[in-house]
Symmetry: D2
Subunit: 346 residues, 4 copies
């Protein structure tokens, strides 16, 4: 039984971790860290957990937690994990960081986009980017996992085969992303009030969203060259779900069947990436509550572009589900342990 500690257990991603781990037969949560709710019953913060979780919230003492847990999930604001990380902690427990602190290898890029100093760049090289479908082998032996961002997970998986196979011109990639509101977190801000989000849609972080360099880095590895792209997120009036619609110019004329074969090459054996049938566009509702990413594409012969689409639950495959998938890999469990979640519809 893996002993699990969560720092940031009362955010939405933390809450989802708790939900998933309740159904994980080989893991047990021993630490519900939440600075805001210390000593309060966890189930009083998330009443859905009433009579399911009896524990009270604890502080965010990573060092102490490292002695009690086999693995630590940090679902915390940017900078927190980096500021706390020590060799001692890593020598005692595996760490899966759901923040962005170890996702970007180049510390200057991190500091420039996030506007904060990185407090433990010495661990950047060691950290493994936990996109399981792509970095599976590296993840198995790691101590420190940088759990991918929600938008980067959906974007990268949707575009990866095309870049990896050199079928599109990377300089033409444009990603138009749409996210449910849980991605904005549980902080009490006017912008996230029901009445401000409901019956509304807007772009935000245009030409400057922090997930941009993360996507560029990962797709750059696939391309074998530096990639610069456009990424535009939008806020959608729904709780969960990310949809990305990506555009790129095809290098040459291709058929549906050729591209389908490429996607199948990378994903046919992947349980959590579903390449939909021809002409079926991904919908976020079809993956809600599950660890699936549904992807598909459409070739536009008129413009010579391909439109690549992906849909995912931002709190599962985009956060907690992928974190559990990483945990399973770290501990040698079947990768889908606790993750055979059937999407909830409607």
């Amino acid at each position: 039984m893996i002993k699990v500690g969560i720092i940031g257990a009362t955010g939405y991603a933390g809450g989802e971790l708790v939900r998933l781990l309740m159904g994980h037969k080989d893991a047990r949560i021993v630490w519900y860290g939440s600075r805001s709710y210390i000593d309060k019953k966890y189930a009083e913060v998330y009443q859905n957990m009433f009579q399911i979780v009896e524990d009270v919230c604890k502080d965010d003492n990573l060092e102490k937690l490292a002695e009690e847990a086999d693995v630590i999930f940090t679902a915390t604001p940017q900078g927190f994990c980096a500021s706390m990380m020590t060799e001692e902690i890593l020598s005692k427990a595996k760490v899966i960081d759901l923040s962005a602190d170890y996702r970007i290898k180049d510390v200057n890029v991190y500091e420039s986009w996030y506007g904060i100093e990185h407090k433990s760049p010495q661990f950047l090289e060691e950290a493994v980017y936990g996109l399981c479908e792509i970095n599976r082998e590296k993840i198995r032996g790691a101590r420190l996992i940088a759990n991918p961002g929600c938008y980067p997970t959906c974007s990268t998986l949707s575009i990866y085969p095309m870049v990896k196979e050199g079928l599109i011109d990377p300089s033409t990639i444009i990603i138009d992303a749409k996210s449910g509101t849980s991605g904005a977190g549980r902080g009490a801000k006017v912008d996230n009030l029901f009445c401000e989000v409901n019956e509304n849609i807007k772009a935000y972080g245009v030409a400057g969203h922090r997930h941009t360099p993360e996507i560029e880095e990962q797709l750059g590895y696939a391309a074998g060259e530096k990639i610069t792209l456009n990424f535009t997120p939008h806020l959608v009036p729904m709780n969960r779900g990310i949809l990305i619609t990506a555009y790129a110019s095809l290098k040459e004329t291709v058929t549906y069947e050729e591209i389908k074969a490429v996607y199948d090459k990378y994903y046919q054996k992947e349980q959590f990436v579903r390449v939909l049938d021809k002409d079926i566009c991904p919908q976020t509702k079809w993956v809600e509550g599950s660890n699936y990413v549904d992807v598909n594409f459409k070739i536009d012969p008129r413009t010579g572009r391909i439109i690549m689409m992906g849909a995912m639950d931002n709190l599962v495959k985009g956060a907690a589900g992928q974190a559990v998938q990483n945990m399973n890999l770290l501990f040698g469990l079947p990768e889908n342990t606790g993750l055979n979640l059937v999407p909830v519809f409607p």
Copy 2:
């Protein structure tokens, strides 16, 4: 392994049955019945099931199905199950009917409220009303289960202890209910279009909803007398969830602790009925996707009334979850098999 057949597998309740049974270790679906989609892949109707369910839809031949299945779920319009039922079918397979056909013992009451002739009243006496928390023992030995309606499940469980203990005047019961839109089914009607339901709330079926006599009958058994009450459902712009707010006059002055003890008496050992802590009002989001009913109450000393509240997922405890719970009882399995679903929040 229990072989399961579903008639009406492409309605919302049928779809939820499929979702739940995918996670049930002792059951396997052998028949996805859907008259509208015969020979179509089930996963093309519900794309959330892509790569999870490979079967195609079949017809609604109950007699043939009875030879292939151990249990048949009928998630069909009123009248269908009654019109098909035969002794032969029941001799071969258990039947759990999610429609109203066998819920009301008095065939005249049924025919009067539903406006159709009952085609097999000879089975009414045998049929067991499948509200597990109350009729558990009767269910175990049954062949034909009348799976309770969504509103009646939530209403009855919220009010039952008060009536059973004789603490309220039954003639004063008023139930004001609110339901998500999945309760209206998947039929293509203007009234259920997104734009008609969204940003809107209305009462419907005022003083005439068909679930009224069902609630009256069940609470009447608890009271040991005939009960006539008001039941008013409302349509709420959300997919899932039922909330009921019920009012009744207390027969005498009581304390919170006394009433709490009464609710605990009936529900403390029940996994799926959670009596919330003092002053915590049930919310549908806290039970979404799960088989829980959250109940609580508030005494109003000013008016001498008690306000009883219950929240539930109409598709789980209000339909498919309760049907599985009944199946577990029928086949001697632990009652919560396949039903340890943690509510999804947010």
Copy 3:
């Protein structure tokens, strides 16, 4: 041209006042008071007003404002208006208070339900409860208007004819109310975040909501006796709209036509109260954005009760629209000036 000052112009009710007054040919806003946004352009707080309102926000100096305005709307938290009110202010400008400070005549009742001291009880007697359809004549000559609460407006108008005519037993009145989330205001609270409200419904303030004594007082005037009733509000995942479903026992057997005649007696000449046709239940979407209250009723001969229903836009007839209606009366304008708003559907 009436010079209008608004204190609390950046709350939702204040914002709606601005919207309505932009379309009022005889009024001009001279003061956008908002303590939180002093010196900020109003249209930067509410971007819908971009290029429509050019003013910047000012403070909440009521005394200074009284010298510049003919009428002052206070859309402020409970206690503010009462703490600022002076004879001098009232001698210079009419005041329409959208808070609860002057709605309840008995200062002890106010202080008990609101939990704060009333700082200017000397104006309670003078203040007129601004429910135009009922207090029209008193309003015309007033200096200080207590603009009714949202729930009380909808509740009172829906039930008033039945109580006034003595057709129901007042001690049996139960009001089950449902409101959109704008009623909770624009404060940044976790409970009002999109993800907490969306796909959810809950009761709140059960047996203790502050609008209870206000409704009791107004219906008490109609009944000619003290009334105690149950009022239960619910939070619904929509921006605007209040629906009330009220129950009461009929004193004697009545027909639909008799009751219809009673409602028509009070409302046939009222532009803003629409008595719907037989069996048509009010829906909040049908009045959205307008000053209408749609009411109707259903007699239940089985229980001897009548179900009374009302739907209204909480920000219009429930706040800003009624405030403008009061202003029109105060200044001798046609009562519907600026209020001929056609409901927006869908």
Copy 4:
């Protein structure tokens, strides 16, 4: 007083026409055409019009209507208006067609994208594309107006200045559009049910949506050359609103101020196109219920692209509002008559 006839008065666009014309001081509706509801009271179809509209629905006899009305709005399915149009009708009444029948000058393009035969191509040359901000002068003298599509209105106005001034490479234009569900009409289809749309987002019509050639044609006029572009619409869980996010490569390095000056050049004098302040992204909620299009842009120096954004109410500026704007131009009225609608927020 202009006598107005509406064919298709019970669709969402038709209903919005009625709403707007109720507030138009110089127009009066004399014909509520609705084949589905002949002889039914209009206010029974749209209860928001109760006690506002007393008329009953009539048939769609254009010839008869042309004798009774000064202007005819056809808010009908593709093909209807073209199949009915005659010289005689046009000689008697102005026609503003809200369908696509006369929007595309090349009948082959129309027939290819719409898959139907055009029954009156002889009027194509005469018809004026009613995008008022661009074709104002041509509209004034016209008999037959092709009222622009919702997506084309928002897309064209957002991109037009950049194309007209030759600042972007037209071959790089990609338009990612998001629409509320009223754009899908009031037909009873499973895909538009509340439970299918709510908590969901999807792309549709990828690389094949019928509004593509319309946008290409209009931007092509501005560019002075044929344009081929990508247009991808998405369905968003909200009633109203269109947001478009468009991407294109800048031909040369430009500053914010330079581009701002270009947008101002075209829109500073336009009441209904608001160029937002720097870094403010358009939101559909800020224009809801009004005739505004809010536009803005962001330069991305990293990729050399510009992101152009536009938000609009699809039923107002995207349909009924623009139709009324066209009517005002046709009859020599101030262009904003009946259109000074303040956006409703929240």
